[in-house]
Subunit: 360 residues, 2 copies
């Protein structure tokens, strides 16, 4: 069941123009150190690297961790709101989130209200165990924060109740074409910024699937391969779903009590419409899974002065793929090229002092 | 005594090309919230703002705080090294610094060594009271860290001794045309990135003066006004020097024991050659000084999720000018324009957990 057709590159261009003066053109980082680690990883992945083959990996990190409110989600929320009329926005907006998206929607609404000179009552629903820092950030942007139970469906229920009671508009997390093309502007921008170095593939972590579908919309017409990254446990389960052709409603996503992955931003279900695009032939070349150990190792590597801003665990999942995944290494070696150029979207930077403890 | 002529915009273009694949094209941030604060400040500065005049300030922050190693200084160091031959670099390089520049030179040398396939012995001299985090960062880039006394001249002495004993090359902090044009690439990049919005002026904080002279080189041919920012106490004393025409060798700069400003990165002497350019007619329109209270207030405002990465006290000095300086407000109002557009270079992001305490 396809709820909407795959957005076109032109749709993404239009979105980019619409939000150009509201989002940050985030930097693209290169690092010889990380190129070296990714290239060394090829030796474990099918004979590349040092062994005569001389394959090299060149990485281009799109640093959405320094986007406003600290994640690419600000792009989608900003675009969604930009497409609404004043009268619609004045009814208010609602979002549900474990934290990042609450901040993105709250600030996007604040900016839209300021720009249009209207009032936009903004409600965000977060789990009752949401960290104080995230709640305070959403409040600082003028949103009213509601606390639901800790299960994902608790948040959805409460958000829908607010919509029904107040007539406010729900800002969907991922499964919406306006959100998708807004998020896709990050991938478009990356390709423009590295125009001198044609990318062979782009790797994006996937939770709800909005950025992944956005990456397809941008990359497919240009012949750039799209890869998804997810945690082995606790993510949306895309790798298994691509095998079976069936997206399981896994209990660990609906449960919320247990947290098998530190990449909690990816601990959600892929949207139905997004899934139809993700499974579509020739859209996502492969889904790579990384272990908790690989994610933590990556977090230690990238949260350094050389890197740009902090990198959160969910964002480290995509980076972990290119540094440590043997399945990815096999793909690189199979390209039979001297240099394989990979873009990686570093999706978010919500990684504070308290979270550093998980690395100990 | 002019030790070198003012670099041309063409020199800066050449430098930008030389370091393009080694530095981050850092983002330009806009913020309606900060525009609002700067515009509100006009009311205290000569009758602008709300009072009929309807002058508005639009700010464009060039976020060098997310440059590699956390500051614009990486640009200058990278460019300086790029202009040396392999044989020169193999003799080794030396820098002295309170911290930021040590990291910049250490990483720039690491990158140059990797790229050229040579060894570059790198020594950095820091004060004995330099924080562990800064020392470890420099060491992580492969530099040998030497600790001098706490006075600025102690560092210089030790660095010169290393040069004399080992034949290594000193990477100057600011007073060198290769450093200046390297640092100037940040200002050039800013003007290109905001090309759609012609800037009326650029504000840069000044310590050694390299970035300020670089800003002159870029802005003067284009007719963009250049302003310097410094802390009222403990900075290079440019405001006073512009009045008297004479740069005093102030004891507080040479002493180092007392720390009258939290913007410690600006607590240094302006280079002699740089000073000749800074005082030159039509080069720097004005030097604005800000109080410690204004710097701290700015740090609280900009170290938020909306902003890109952390902002260090020295970088907050330039931002404080556009938000709070009444002298700056008077200049804006005197422009008699509807919208006055200002670029501000946010020079560095070395602001860790321990430093947050100074805001309490």
């Amino acid at each position: 069941m396809v709820l909407y057709t795959l957005p076109s590159l032109y749709d993404v261009e239009q979105a980019a123009r619409l939000i150009a003066d509201k989002v940050v053109e985030t930097p693209v980082l290169t690092s010889q150190r990380l190129n070296g680690i990714a290239t060394a990883n090829l030796r474990g992945g099918g004979g590349g690297g040092g062994e005569g083959g001389e394959v090299k990996v060149e990485l281009f990190f799109k640093c959405e961790n320094v986007q406003k409110t600290g994640s690419f989600k600000f792009r989608g929320a900003t675009h969604f709101l930009a497409r609404l009329r004043d009268e619609e926005l004045e009814r208010g907006v609602v979002a549900f989130s474990t934290g990042n998206y609450a901040q993105a929607v709250a600030h996007a609404a604040q900016v839209a209200a300021f720009e249009r000179g209207i009032r936009i009552p903004t409600s965000v629903v977060v789990p009752s165990n949401c960290g104080r820092r995230k709640v305070e950030a959403a409040e600082s942007y003028g949103a009213t924060v509601f606390r639901s139970g800790t299960k994902p469906l608790d948040r959805v229920d409460m958000a829908i109740r607010i919509v029904e009671e107040t007539g406010a508009i729900l800002v969907p997390p991922a499964d919406d074409s306006d959100i998708v093309v807004g998020q896709a502007t990050a991938v478009r921008e990356l390709l423009l910024q590295v125009a001198g170095h044609r990318l062979d593939a782009v790797v994006v972590p996937s939770g709800g699937g909005g950025l992944l579908v956005g990456a397809i919309a941008v990359c497919k017409p240009l012949g750039v391969t799209v890869f998804a990254a997810e945690p082995e446990l606790g993510g949306p389960g895309l790798a298994a779903a691509m095998q079976t052709g069936h997206l399981a409603l896994r209990s660990l996503c609906l449960d919320g009590g247990s947290t098998p992955t530190i990449a909690d931003g990816l601990q959600c279900l892929t949207g139905e419409a997004n899934w139809e695009h993700i499974r579509g032939a020739g859209n996502v070349a492969q889904v790579f899974s990384v272990s908790e150990k690989q994610i933590k190792g990556t977090l230690r590597l990238v949260n350094s002065d050389e890197f740009v801003g902090a990198v959160e665990p969910s964002a480290a999942v995509g980076v972990a793929v290119v540094l440590f995944s043997s399945a990815f290494a096999r793909w690189v070696v199979a390209q039979s090229k001297g240099v394989v150029r990979i873009g990686v979207v570093v999706t978010g930077g919500d990684f504070g002092v308290e979270e550093l403890l998980i690395l100990l």
